[in-house]
């Protein structure tokens, strides 16, 4: 069953003269780990804003086409209602944390939904534990490091137990190692809790291995949509300027230029590449 489905979705910001996204038709299944990528300004953030109704309810502007999320037509439901089903984590952690303690920030959504206190405390502790920041619960969010802040932002969305988590470049302010840890947390949520993850990301080196669906956008349109190994090794992807994982690129070069084929499965990470190479060396 598709949890997110759009048909010919086109949207134009009120101040713009041309649509930020055009004719987007995608289908995201329950439990998928979806990567959305593409050059800067291609409309990734805009698409994310559609998933929880910020577009059109918060941004106004002109929207055409169809979009249903978790079975709800977003045009007919306010963001506050969609928020129960879709959690949105933004790029800049600093501007999405506003309470004076981590715990309170994580509870914010549940408070808005009117949860009773005991239940809320349990949920908050659960989310803090899953994201590995339970020890920080009494600290002030603005005194934390970027990586810790981003974990708080994820926890605060997670606490509402949405079926879908949409993360818009959640690690762009972080160093690669911290980013890797955040991605591992996100993968855990997808893998063990079955939450559908939609991740907007440029660093495919770190994330492609987790995904089972990839969407590539360019100039407001979806240009490629499908299975990661296939798409990342295709020529079109390279021409758009997407940062293909080095392992995948290496495999491709060996295959195209030298006619060497290392195993059947196209590697998406250095670990997978290492495995392939080991097998070749052994035989």
């Amino acid at each position: 069953m598709a949890v997110i489905q759009t048909r010919n979705l086109t949207y134009m910001y009120p101040t713009a003269t041309k649509p930020a996204i055009r004719d987007v038709s995608i289908k995201i299944e329950k439990g998928e780990f979806v990567l959305i990528t593409g050059p800067s300004g291609c409309g990734k953030t805009t698409l994310c804003r559609c998933f929880n109704g910020l577009i059109p309810h918060f941004y106004q502007g002109e929207i055409n086409g169809e979009i249903t999320v978790a079975g709800l037509n977003i045009l007919e439901h306010p963001t506050s209602e969609l928020a129960k089903h879709v959690g949105l984590v933004f790029q800049n952690p600093e501007n999405q944390l506003f309470a004076l303690s981590v715990e309170k920030d994580v509870a914010f959504g549940l408070e808005n939904l009117g949860y009773p206190r005991e239940k809320m405390q349990k949920r908050v502790d659960w989310a803090l534990n899953l994201t590995g920041i339970y020890e920080l619960r009494e600290r002030a969010p603005h005194e934390l490091s970027g990586g810790q802040q981003q974990r708080v932002a994820i926890a605060s969305v997670l606490a509402m137990q949405p079926e879908i988590m949409v993360l818009d470049e959640p690690t762009s302010f972080l160093d690669p190692l911290t980013a890797k840890k955040i991605f591992e947390v996100i993968y855990e949520l997808n893998n063990t809790l079955g939450i559908t993850v939609v991740l907007v990301e440029h660093r495919l080196d770190l994330t492609a291995q987790y995904s089972n669906h990839i969407i590539i956008m360019n100039q407001g349109k979806v240009v490629l949509d499908g299975e990661p190994r296939e798409i990342l090794s295709s020529k079109e992807t390279r021409l758009i300027g997407v940062g293909i994982p080095k392992a995948t690129r290496l495999y491709q070069i060996l295959k195209e230029d030298d006619g060497v084929k290392l195993g059947k499965k196209i590697p998406l990470s250095s670990e997978e590449m290492t495995k392939l190479l080991r097998e070749v060396i052994k035989t």
């Binding site: 804003r49 918060f58 506050s80 501007n95 939904l113 603005h142």
Partner: protein, 262 residues
Amino acid sequence: MSVFDGLKFRRVYSPIHNLDPRIKFIYVCAIFVIAIMFGELLPLIILFTFQIPFVLLAGVKREWIRSMRGAAFLATIIFLTNFVFAYLGARGIGQSLENAVAMTLRFIVLIESFSIFFLTTSPDHLGLALEQTHVPYEFTFAFTTAVRFVPVLAEEAQTIMDAQKARGLELERGNFLKRIRNYIPILIPLIVSAIRRSLELAEAMESRAWGATKKRTNLYVLKMHKGDFILIAITIGILAVAIYIRLYLPIPSINQLLANIN
């Protein structure tokens, strides 16, 4: 950065910090009323010393002394005007002096108790107290968010100032009007960034179900502890004693006491 450090709040734990802000506020009001009730020096001295244990218990001595020092200038003015007018009103020097000191002390007691309140109440505690006294949540939220973002904006102002100076902006040049104009290249980026920040904030709030129900709940509730009941008892006690003294006991002036000793 040191200029802005004062804007950051620190989380401190002490028996006084843990008290319910509402009770603390009632206590402060009671002290306020008592200070107004008495114009004599002796009870005001007692009132002043009575609060020093609170300061020590809260461990905010240094901050407290700083805020008292801040009040010194006003206190001096109050002392001088009271003294001059009492003296011109043809009272004796001793009497005028005592009167002026009493008025000054009354002012100091007011400052003292309010500064204890604000020095020992963290903003989120205060926000919570506002919320639970049925102040609309929008207002409380605005308050805590302001506390949260003022240091951030201050830091940003500093960054912009440094950046503009690096590009050749001279702040300290020209006459008064020119100097004000010099700040425009700092204000505009600051305002633009603050607006962008607030939009992002609004977006994040919407995404976390802001306004989903009328009946918003709260993770924290203020509960009264032993300390709060003790403070209530103390408040009622001193109020009762103060009223009794005011109504039934004559209060000797320091001058009289001194005269008796001799």
